[in-house]
């Protein structure tokens, strides 16, 4: 095996970021390419790691940092973490390729008139900040220690703040601050919960949390951490930041924002559901109800939007709740389905969001009432938007279909009236996703193009560097849809073992 493979996966993007930062003027416009190479390398490493997980047992790596309190840099590679890390890393890679042209354009728009040196500096800055996303996602995925997990979650919040403030749209600094405050709100609660756990078991190790099972304080720890993570995953009423932040982020990281939100589902499973199964049981039904309300509310909210960037933003509120619905149902299948849906959703959102971004990038128009018939001039973009819609709506052959099947099977597996009712309403809620995905496709891409748009020669499909990564994600999602066992066989041992121990 490659030496320190896990260490490389997590920290190489950070080293590359440092490298780009130090040599920013020398690297210049090649910064994107350097970042892409780095991420391609870590993706390769993740594939190696994945194959070794397929063949063997989970790997745990331990670097003690502090003895009292016991804080160690501990990472765990199992089927669950490696799958999440791999998909997140691939999305980062795809979006990094997408960013090469996009950021150039964005810097031109925002920092018009600055000196070439400053322009280069802004361009490069995007990439060295961007590279902390894969660091954060890999860290969160592999963390086996609560403080390490918290640390990487916080990295994401901070990086997001800077990227939003530098490259966002309209009131970007205000929105960045809003995002940071919500991130902090969430973080404080998560930290409080972590400290409660530490006070009871005397360690931050995630695989020791189960010792707290049955402890009355477990209820409070779960409640507080859940509250914090609800704010991250945008469960009603903690969703209010999502439409603002998502719609104003630079498009190339907007999809990563969906990952940032939805990865909370993974964290909940990792640190609460699996170790504290019985204590978590109480929270199941309320989570299901809240998730269902959020699913429907988010979809209806999406339907009411006229700003093309707010459409995927509001859709994220709804889609993240699917994972929560699965988690709330608390069966092995529903949790696997919920997590698989998380991966499917972030792929779908990458395509959907980035395509919406392409429309803004090309037409400079955000109000969909002024957009019509774009498929005439942008057929590839239209096709990608439709694929994004299909991926969101859980249509075969995309991975969200098997994910939804498993998720809802897990809900029906509970076999009580409450769960069956929730399951059927949940299935019907998918109709809203189908409705808005294709309603907006019709509004934006179909019909006769108005003269005002038809005359504009610059309205055409964007360069391949923006569409190819998205096509790759569509193909990846179709592959996982046709061969879901690739992911599910990774999830299965982890979830089943944990559930069997309960």
């Amino acid at each position: 095996m490659i030496p320190s493979i896990l260490f490389q996966i997590i920290f190489i993007p950070a080293f590359i970021a440092l490298f780009i930062f130090l040599l920013r003027y020398q690297v210049g416009k090649q910064a994107g390419l350097v970042a892409v190479i780095g991420l391609a390398y870590t993706t390769g490493l993740l594939l190696v790691l994945l194959s070794s997980i397929y063949q063997g047992d989970p790997i745990k790596i331990d670097y003690p940092l502090l003895i009292n309190p016991d804080i160690r840099l501990t990472f765990l590679v199992d089927g669950l973490s490696v799958a999440v890390a791999l998909i997140c890393n691939i999305l980062c890679l795809a979006l990094c390729v997408y960013s090469i042209k996009y950021v150039d354009h964005r810097v031109e728009v925002i920092y018009e008139g600055v000196s070439p040196r400053m322009e280069t500096s802004y361009y490069v800055c995007f990439f060295y900040l961007f590279l902390f996303f894969p660091v954060g996602f890999a860290g969160v995925s592999f963390a086996a220690d609560l403080i390490v997990l918290y640390f990487f979650l916080e990295i994401l919040t901070i990086i997001l703040y800077f990227l939003l403030a530098y490259y966002g749209y309209y009131e970007r600094v205000k929105v960045a601050t809003m995002c940071l405050l919500w991130g902090m709100f969430s973080a404080v609660l998560v930290l409080a919960g972590i400290l409660i756990i530490y006070s009871q078991i005397g360690t931050f190790q995630i695989d020791e949390i189960h010792r707290m099972a049955g402890n009355p304080m477990a209820f409070w720890a779960i409640a507080i951490i859940l509250l914090g993570l609800f704010a991250k995953i945008a469960i009603i009423p903690f969703h209010v930041w999502m439409p603002w932040v998502h719609s104003n982020t630079p498009t190339s990281i907007a999809a990563l924002l969906a990952v940032y939100a939805n990865i909370a589902a993974y964290v909940i499973v990792r640190i609460l559901v699996l170790p504290l199964w019985d204590d978590f049981m109480w929270f199941g039904p309320p989570i299901m109800v809240l998730a269902l309300i959020t699913m429907i509310y988010g979809s209806l909210l999406t339907l009411a939007q006229t700003d093309i960037k707010r459409i995927p933003a509001c859709s994220t509120i709804s889609q993240c709740a699917y994972s929560m619905l699965g988690i709330g149902a608390m069966t092995a299948a529903s949790i696997e389905g919920g997590l698989f849906f998380f991966l499917s959703h972030i792929m779908a959102k990458t395509v959907f969001f980035s395509t919406a971004g392409i429309v803004v990038y090309v037409t400079h128009i955000r109000d969909i009432n002024h957009l019509k018939g774009l498929a005439n001039k942008m057929p590839i973009t239209a096709m990608l938007f439709i694929c994004g819609g299909l991926m969101l709506a859980g249509m075969p052959p995309f991975s969200s279909f098997p994910a939804e099947v498993i998720l809802f099977y897990g809900i029906f597996e509970r076999a009580d009236t409450f769960s069956i009712t929730i399951g059927i309403i949940g299935l019907l809620a998918i109709l809203l996703t189908v409705g808005y995905s294709f309603y907006f496709t019709m509004k934006i891409f179909f019909g006769t193009m108005p003269d005002a748009l038809a005359k504009k020669d610059y309205i055409k499909d964007p360069p391949l560097s923006m569409t190819l990564p998205l096509i790759f994600i569509v193909v990846l999602s179709a592959f996982l849809g046709l061969y879901p066992a690739f992911i599910l066989d990774l999830f299965e041992p982890v979830i089943s073992a944990a559930v069997a121990n309960m």
Binding site: M178, Q305, A332, A333, M395, Y409, I424, M442, G447, D489
Partner: protein, 679 residues
């Protein structure tokens, strides 16, 4: 060998999809003929499955690979039994003729590559649905045909005026893309509920493999029946899918608008294939519910049959009534399709009403499926040629076209006679089989509805044939034909050939009608009674068969004669009863407005949900959350902080007050600490 052929049936169309862009780069002719060639190969593969029916005792055959082993055990494979072989042949063969027709119909269309890809994808998905061995794979095929049909209905995505349907002025028009969306969303309602039904069934049975479901029914049906109401719930959920896909009441409203796609698409989706998938799926489920009721003694299982039969009967009647007044040629055919599928559902529904009627009802449903696929595909293809020639979608813009389209007149006429139920065409035999099954089930209300529907069918069919081909030319036609070098004539050769081939098929199938019915009866006897060991008893006819024939022909005459007088000979004037009778006018409006169901759905679901989303969810709830949490809360925090600061500042003039506060606070804390220590 058969199994390999079945796999080929699945692979070939998708291969066609993938190769079409490659062919398009080489040569446009290769692209077009290449696409049709793959559908030809598919049809040949399907036809080569037919010999297996002669040795039906060896069926079913199955081949599969594991698709998912955890947390659900699902396989992906093909299943060959009489039902799947028959329906696969209907799909593959008729699709091939439709593809041939497209060679002419779509000639010169700039988006033809997309068209071929969608058509082949559609055929492949449909065959996946039919041949799948597992209900979840059936569902995948089910969803894929839905997506392809969305793409094909919205094919003219630029929404040019000439592709709008609906109207005529002052009535509303529908654009192709709106129609596609409507079809997708409406059918999805059923799909989602059906998925729920499948998953609940999986929970009890532990499998969705069709054969395993049949085999293990004695174990899982009692478990499911132990929960009161569960069988009824699952029945409703499972029926919802076919109701959506086969455009049955109450989810039938998408199909009339689905006519906005190209003519052959209407034939493919609305005659031969997609709308039949619901009937096919119900046929797949019948052994399970039949077993549950007649062997397992589960009373609730009868609801499955009652619901299916009544939905079929209501839909047949409702859609036929709308066909009486429709003015768009393809819409008349669409209503007719909805109505005829109702007949199929009715036959399948009554098959569970008695132990003696299972095979009769089951084979009547499938027989009608086969004959209808043939004559309706022919009707739609001919309609495509007619509309193309007349440059209008309305039948009142046509008239006397027989002289311009003599071949089409013959072919469409034959298909129409079959739809009416004129002997010895296949429509007569299959409709009669449905009527016999219904009457023999002793449900006279259902039989009465069916007979009235036969009258309506005869009337509207003769009406459109008369208005299109006979009578005097309309003003529009006179204008069209007066243009120098007008195009009011037959279409390209492939179009006429395809229609002709189907018409010949109709005649042959009609001549062999009785034999076909007998063959189907014995095939399903082998599949259901011998193969699946469903308990049946021999049927003893309660009524003479001649009575049903008399009912059938009598009803046809009651419908045909007035229509013939009104629209063919034009000796009677339809305007007279309309103007004289208020009842006729009211009913006309009621039928024209589609019983106001479409309007109600539009108001409640399409507009209602959008209005609710923007005026309640976005404008009230979200704004409330936004203002409350994003503005008022931070402002309150800031204000509170400021107030505190100013409060402290104000009292800073008097230091002693502050000290007093601090002291008081310290005392309270100490006091609390003391209590804590003492307790």
């Amino acid at each position: 060998m058969e199994i390999q052929l079945a796999w080929l049936c699945l692979i070939l169309p998708f291969l066609g999809v993938m190769l079409t862009p490659v062919f398009a780069r080489i040569n446009p002719v290769l692209r077009d003929y290449g696409a049709v060639f793959f559908s030809f190969l598919t049809a040949v593969s399907a036809l080569m499955l037919l010999p297996a029916l002669f040795t039906a005792e060896k069926l079913p055959l199955e081949s599969m690979v594991v698709w998912m082993s955890s947390p659900m055990q699902l396989s992906f494979g093909v299943l060959l039994d009489p039902l799947s072989i028959i329906v696969a042949n209907v799909v593959a063969v008729i699709s091939f003729f439709i593809m041939v027709y497209c060679l002419g119909y779509m000639k010169g269309n700039p988006s033809i590559m997309r068209f071929w890809m969608l058509m082949n994808a559609f055929i492949g998905s449909m065959l996946l649905l039919v041949l799948a061995n597992n209900l979840i794979i059936v569902f995948i095929g089910w969803k894929l045909v839905g997506i392809c049909s969305y793409g094909l209905i919205s094919f003219y995505f630029r929404d040019e005026r000439k592709y709008w349907i609906g109207g005529p002025e002052p009535f509303k028009f529908d654009k192709p893309t709106e129609c596609g969306l409507k079809a997708l969303v409406t059918t999805s309602v059923g799909d989602m509920l059906m998925l729920g039904g499948l998953l609940i069934m999986y929970y009890y049975s532990g499998t969705l493999n069709v054969l395993e479901l049949y085999e293990t029914a004695p174990q899982w049906i009692p478990a499911m029946a132990a929960t009161p109401g569960m069988i009824i719930l699952v029945s409703i959920l499972l029926i919802a899918g076919p109701v959506g896909k086969s455009a049955q009441f109450p989810l039938h409203e998408w199909l009339p608008e689905a006519m906005s796609g190209p003519g052959p698409v209407s034939a493919l989706i609305h005659a031969a294939t997609m709308v039949k998938s619901g009937v096919f799926f119900i046929a797949r489920l019948i052994p399970i519910f039949y077993y549950a009721y007649w062997t397992g003694g589960v009373e609730e299982a009868m609801y499955f049959f009652i619901i299916v039969a009544w939905i079929g009967a209501i839909t047949a009647f409702l859609a036929a009534s709308q066909g009486l007044v429709a003015l768009e040629l393809k819409k008349v055919l669409a209503y007719s399709t909805v109505s005829q599928i109702g007949f199929m559902m009715l036959a399948l529904g009554v098959s569970g009403f008695g132990q003696d009627i299972l095979v009769k009802g089951y084979s009547a449903g499938i027989f009608h499926l086969m004959s209808h696929a043939m004559f309706k595909a022919c009707l739609f293809l001919c309609a495509g040629t007619v509309i193309h020639a007349a440059h209008s979608i309305y039948i009142h813009d046509m008239g006397s076209m027989r002289k311009y389209l003599p071949y089409t007149w013959v072919f469409m006429g034959l298909a129409a006679l079959s739809l009416i139920g004129v002997p010895p065409l296949p429509g007569f035999w299959s409709k009669e089989a449905v009527l016999v099954a219904t009457l023999e089930s002793h449900n006279y209300a259902l039989f009465a509805v069916a007979v009235v529907t036969v009258i309506f069918t005869a009337f509207y069919t003769m009406r459109f044939v008369g208005m299109v081909f006979h009578g005097s030319s309309s003003k529009h036609m006179r204008k069209e034909t007066s243009k120098p070098g007008h195009h009011v004539s037959e279409g390209y050769f492939p179009q006429t050939f395809a229609c002709g081939a189907l018409a010949v098929g109709i005649v042959i199938f009609g001549i062999l009608g009785l034999k076909a019915e007998y063959a189907l009866n014995s095939l399903f006897e082998i599949q259901l009674v011998k193969g699946l060991a469903l308990s049946t008893v021999e049927h003893i006819y309660s009524y003479p068969k001649s009575m049903v024939v008399a009912f059938s022909i009598g009803s046809v005459l009651i419908g045909v004669i007035p229509a013939y007088m009104f629209y063919v000979t034009q000796k009677w004037n339809p305007a007279v009863p309309y103007e004289r009778s208020r009842f006729v006018r009211t009913m006309h409006t009621f039928f024209w407005q589609r019983w106001y169901i479409d309007r109600f759905y539009l108001w409640l679901f399409a507009d209602g949900i959008k209005r609710f989303a923007s005026s309640v969810i976005a404008a009230r709830f979200e704004k409330g959350f936004d203002v409350g949490i994003n503005y008022r809360l931070p402002r309150a925090v800031v204000k509170g902080g400021n107030n505190l600061l100013s409060f402290i500042r104000a009292d800073a003039r008097d230091m002693s007050t502050n000290i007093a506060y601090i002291l008081a606070l310290t005392i309270v804390i100490l006091f609390l600490a003391l209590i804590r220590m003492l307790t």
